[in-house]
Amino acid sequence: MSESCNSRHFSWLVKSCLPNSQDTTNALTPIPLHSPTTTAPTTLSALPDDLLLECLSRVPSSSLPSLSLVCRRWSHIVHSSTFVSLRRIRHFHSSTLFALSSSDSVLFTASLNFKHNDHSTTHDDSNILGDWKVSTFITLQAPSLIDNLSHARLSSIGPRIYIVERHGVLCYDTWTHSLTLRSSMNFRRKKFACAVVSSKIYVAGGGGSRAPAALVEEYDPERDTWSVVAHAPRRRFGCIGAAVDGVFYVIGGLKIGGASETEVPRAAATGTEYASTMDLYDVKTRAWLRSRTVPGGGCAVAACATAAGFVYVLASHAVEMSFWRFDGRRQNGGAGFGEWTRIKSPPLPPQVRVDSTVRFSCVASEEKVVVVQVNGCIDDLLRRSGRNRRGMREGLVLVYDTVGGEWSRGPDLPEVIRRAACVSVEC
């Protein structure tokens, strides 16, 4: 509560004792911002924006979609970043994991609600509420855009999911279930890093015909524009993006050595050298922080950020898969900033690596990190290695509770969702 109180206007309080001249909060500027005088209209519609925001942010998630239909002002309010952050502060928001896939110009979406870890529930409860809801499939207006969603990067801002792909950008509104075409990136890239900082999308790295790897682009969803904001210190292909505390992390990928652009796909095909580093871009100051090493020396295969201020990285190299977290908290002095901690690996058979056969997507929300097996069959992998025991089928969903430090298994990804791209939506 205190955050919202500090900004309050004390200006209309007039007291009968002499005001303290040094106290600026008590300055006698008679600007009645929201004065409930007798002449003011008495309907609730006359509430000023900040109070309306306070009221609307307390409405349960299930009723939010219809709020956006009431009028333009309300629609604007419930889509604002302030609204989302206010709900987060108040613990009114709910998180939903979305898995999107496409087939024959049809988009499939499956959603899974996260359970709130409030004080009344214990940590050994199931982490996830209910089962997957395979909701909609939409005939795409622009089918060529997402023939294969597994190459797309998903970002969510409020209730909207942005599907960023080499050929274009689509916006899927999870409230209205509508799909709209947005502006494409300035540079066509694939296998790039993508993350959201302060309601804007940032992309970096990747390969393409015009070698955009060194350029960082920013997308402003309100204006529907892309612009180049920085040059990356390294060029990476197949890198992964994350964001914590105003920093855009460009993690891992393959090193792109040659000056010539055409070398990019070749490097990928021959699977040369993994970049075991990550670059940190501070969005606010538009500056690069010191690059960090990614532990394990392998390739970072999945990375994500949580509200708790950590970047979680699933790394895979010759011997094993490992799970790490990076302390990305820079506020309050940032004492632990930059520290890597190895944490419990996901419960997967030791044979599992991240290669072309089995692929994982990793998303986070509040206290949960979810690893979703989006491609490949672990069972096959085990058989090939001579084992004959029953493997886990495709679509494994593993949930890591960052508070309890334990893994649990969520409901498997529905059959219909193949080669999915995943994102967590908070609103």
Partner: protein
């Protein structure tokens, strides 16, 4: 104006005076900070120029009960009792007053009651049709006819399964 040490006088916009225990008034952050500023002054009258008497009365009633319940249920059960009282408290406030109250409470910076009132307004929106919300809030639909038609098509579900009132 003479008053005992633990009393303070709140003056509404109409000039009506309310004598209140400090324990109650200190929940209003703005009153608290004013009194801290002029500590040592014998004059303990705070003029709330823009708050009508009826809202001052409501706010005092709420915090009076809040303080009493807290004292009575120190060992526990306070939150349940407070919830009970809040329910009664809200029942006697109509929607016009709710708006005035939220403004007044916001101005006086009283976090607990602010939360109660905002939640009450949010409850009125929960699971209601778009039309109901518009009427309740006195909002004029400013979407164009085409937009409205398109929205209805896309949101058919949003108009189903809502409470009637």
């Amino acid at each position: 104006m003479a008053s005992t040490d633990d009393k303070v006088i709140l003056k509404s916009s109409e000039g009506e005076c309310f004598e209140v225990d400090m324990a109650v008034a200190s929940h209003l952050q703005i009153v608290k900070s004013v009194l801290e500023d002029c500590e040592g002054s014998s004059d303990k009258v705070v003029s709330l120029f823009i708050v009508e008497a009826k809202y001052v009365a409501m706010i005092i009633e709420y915090y009076k009960n809040y303080v009493e319940l807290k004292e009575k249920h120190e060992e526990g059960g306070f939150e349940e009792k407070l919830k009970e009282f809040e329910k009664q408290f809200l029942e006697q406030i109509d929607k016009k007053e709710l708006k005035g109250l939220v403004m007044a409470v916001n101005y006086l910076n009283a976090p607990a009651l602010f939360d109660v009132v905002c939640t009450a307004i949010a409850k009125h929106i929960e699971n209601k049709s778009v039309e109901y919300v518009r009427e309740y809030f006195g909002i004029v639909n400013d979407f164009t006819a085409e937009e409205e038609a398109q929205i209805r098509e896309e949101h058919r579900w949003a108009y189903d399964g809502v409470n009637d009132d």
